[in-house]
């Protein structure tokens, strides 16, 4: 634990450690999850999903930098690709749904219940 003590000596706010990046990415993920859980408009829910994916990408980049290994950045590239595909399909579903129901409220989406 000697590196931790050095970090405390230099000052908590000055040295930006891996923990700081994890905290920011975790906060971003929590905000996105909060939005997914509490908002009713399905478009806003999709935007919050994007927030969560960005948070994961940020954490991957931070760990990649910390470990000196490029694999995390490759993973982020795949995350971005999957996010783009997911947005395209999701917005297609939203448009198809809007044609049927004239609303984008998730509480109105009860037709797929068994």
């Amino acid at each position: 634990m000697s590196p931790a003590k050095i970090g405390v000596k230099i000052g908590r706010g000055k040295v930006i450690t891996l923990g700081h990046y994890i905290a920011v990415s975790g906060l971003l993920f929590c905000i996105g999850l909060l939005g997914v859980l509490i908002r009713r408009s399905v478009l806003i829910i999709y935007m919050c999903l994007e927030l969560m994916l960005t948070a994961a990408a940020l954490a991957f980049v931070a760990f990649s930098r910390f470990n000196g290994c490029i694999d995390g950045q490759v993973m982020v590239l795949f995350i971005i690709t999957v996010a783009a595909a997911e947005v395209a399909v999701g917005l297609g579903i939203i448009v198809a749904w809007f044609r049927l129901q004239r609303e984008t409220d998730v509480e109105g989406m009860k037709h797929l219940r068994f």
């Binding site: 970090g7 930006i16 994890i22």
Partner: protein
């Protein structure tokens, strides 16, 4: 650890500014009543997080993040918002059922992540570490992508193809149906 104290302080100032911006614009995405405002806040979040990535030395990913998210995905979002004409949202944008569950779940998850982050807050400046094998991250990414992860690249390409075909299948309407849909 970087020996130059001014560099450390510069990094710290950059990090705190950018992360404050990221978190506040992310909060704006959630609390905004107008979907257009949410989408624009999300653009700001994406640009600021790409700046954080660039600060960590992931130059290529930062640029790709701006191009793909702020450039393509958010334009798609805005296009859909305009297409569906969602200027006015319902009077109750927050779900009564979801709000307490969401706050409790997110609070506990946030506490857990905070504890983990504290474990990793050892005194090494991440941005002062040496970059993985030099600073040429585009070349490294390309080499890794097309040698080690070549099969994954093919699978992801196939996924994009499936997504494209899926969207066309979902949104394509025969002529007669589309006319009755527009008349509605």
């Amino acid at each position: 650890m970087s020996s130059d104290p001014s560099l450390v302080i510069l990094n710290a100032v950059l990090f705190w500014t950018l992360s404050l911006g990221v978190v506040s614009t992310a909060l704006l995405v959630v609390v905004n009543k107008n979907p257009v405002g949410s989408a624009l806040s999300l653009v700001a979040t994406m640009v600021l997080s790409s700046m954080l990535m660039i600060q960590m030395g992931a130059f290529f990913l930062g640029v790709v993040q701006v191009l793909v998210y702020a450039g393509a995905v958010m334009v798609l979002f805005l296009f859909i918002i305009m297409l569906l004409d969602l200027r006015q949202e319902s009077s109750r944008p927050i779900s009564i059922f979801g709000a307490p569950i969401g706050v409790v779940l997110v609070g506990s998850l946030g506490y857990a992540i905070f504890q983990v982050a504290r474990q990793f807050a050892v005194g090494r400046d991440v941005t002062a570490l040496s970059l993985p094998e030099g600073s040429d991250d585009v070349r490294l990414l390309g080499l890794e992508l097309f040698s080690e992860h070549a099969a994954t690249v093919i699978i992801v390409g196939f996924l994009l193809l499936v997504a494209m075909v899926g969207v066309i299948v979902l949104c394509h309407q025969p002529k007669s149906e589309s006319k009755s849909g527009e008349a509605k």
